[in-house]
């Protein structure tokens, strides 16, 4: 009996884990919400520019957000 319940526990764990991967992603015509402005990484351009400025002036970091260049210390 105990053996059976452990088996069941195993099976249900495996089934749940695998079915998690089997979930259907949204179809091409269902991506309306993804296309909204709020869903972009830099929804607020001013905020994004400010963050980049802080990174640049405090950490001398530039680039990595779609712009070429890196921390060469030459600017």
């Amino acid at each position: 009996m105990k053996r059976l319940s452990i088996h069941l526990l195993w099976l249900s764990t495996v089934a749940l884990t695998l079915s998690g991967c089997a979930m259907q992603p949204p179809q091409a015509w269902e991506k309306g919400n993804f296309a909204r402005k709020e869903m972009t990484m830099d929804a607020d351009a001013l905020d994004q520019a400010f963050t980049q400025h802080v990174y640049f002036s405090k950490e001398s970091a530039s680039g990595g957000t779609g712009v070429g260049g890196g921390g060469c210390g030459c600017n």
């Binding site: 053996r3 099976l11 495996v14 991967c21 259907q24 909204r36």
Partner: protein
Amino acid sequence: MPLQAPNSRRFRLLLTLVLAAGFALSARAIEVGNVAPAFTLKSARGNVDSATLKGKIVYVDFWASWCVPCKQSFPWMNEMQAKYGERGFEVVAINVDAKQADADKFLVQIPAKFQVAFDAAGDTPKKFGVKAMPSAVIVGADGRVLHVHAGFRDGDKVALEAAIVAALDGLKKR
């Protein structure tokens, strides 16, 4: 008793079942030569029924208001409808917006001089196995798929028009 893994036969069976369920759910994309799925959809002017379009070369376009390349495709589709309409060419643009108000807003900005149908439920794109937005399917007079195209770029116009002309030339010979 130590916690032990289930025997491998049962495990494999389970794995197969779960994976099979996953594959069964994914819709297959339509291919050239397939019979195009039938549809009856609401439009601004009554219903659009695929059965009434038999005998024509139909350009079925799937679009949405949030789809940026769709904005580029509309003026081109207007042009194609004006140029080849007399020869038995018909553009049917199927909107897949969840809210029709979004589609109406788009149509005010970019007017369509061809048939526009609405499918908020998404049944038609599912039947056609649409994989990208926009997607275009050219359906021949016999209801079979002649050409499938995903996306829309300026560079695609030449090839798409060539496919339309080829389809219309085929229509004349019959």
